[in-house]
Amino acid sequence: SQQGEEDPQALSIQEGENATMNCSYKTSINNLQWYRQNSGRGLVHLILIRSNEREKHSGRLRVTLDTSKKSSSLLITASRAADTASYFCATDMYSGGGADGLTFGKGTHLIIQP
C-alpha cells in the first residue's frame, strides 16, 4: 500500500514559473522526504524534513510540513527545462520499534515547457 498521495498527478508549466506539488499522508511520521526521478532512471533524493520542522529550503526548493494536516508541499522556484521529471514524497513511518524504510506516493509528473 502507498502511504503518501501527491497532488496533482501531472503538472505542466512554463519555464521560469514556480511549481508547487502537494503530498498527503495517513499515519504519524518521523520524517518526510522528496525524491526526483527522471524518465527511466533511479530516484534522487532532494530534501528531508523532520516531523518537528515546518519549513526547509535547499537552493530553489522549498518544502513545508504540516503534521496536523498530515501534508507537505514542495515548491520549485524559477523552474527550468531540466526540472522535468516525476517527483515523489516518501514518509518514514513511526513504527515504534525501528525504521522499515520509506513509503512512496504515486508521484507528480512535472513538465516544464521551454
Binding site: G4, N30, R41, G42, L43, A99, D100, G101, L102, F104
Partner: protein
Amino acid sequence: GAGVSQTPSNKVTEKGKYVELRCDPISGHTALYWYRQSLGQGPEFLIYFQGTGAADDSGLPNDRFFAVRPEGSVSTLKIQRTERGDSAVYLCASSLKGGVYTGELFFGEGSRLTVL
C-alpha cells in the same frame, strides 16, 4: 563504485523461469532496500536489510520472492516461477544506517524485468 550498482539493467524472461537480480550498494552502507516500481506508480517496498539480516520482508508479495545479503554488502533478489505480473522495474537503494529513523536513500538505476 561511487553509487549503487544494479545488474542486469534489463532482463527478459519467459513465464515460469527463475530470475536473479543483483544489487551492489555504496561501500559502508549497512541498510539496503529493494523496491518494485510499475509504470506510472511510485516505488513499492519489498524488503529491508540491516547488515546481513532481513529486518523487514513484509513487502514481498509471495513466497516466490526471496532476497539474500550473505556478507552484508551485495544483495540478490530471487524470483521463482516468474509470472507476467512480475514485470516491473526493481529498484535497490542503500543508506548509511537504518535504525529508528530512515535517512536519505541512494538508489540504483534499477533492473527492468519483462516476463513474456
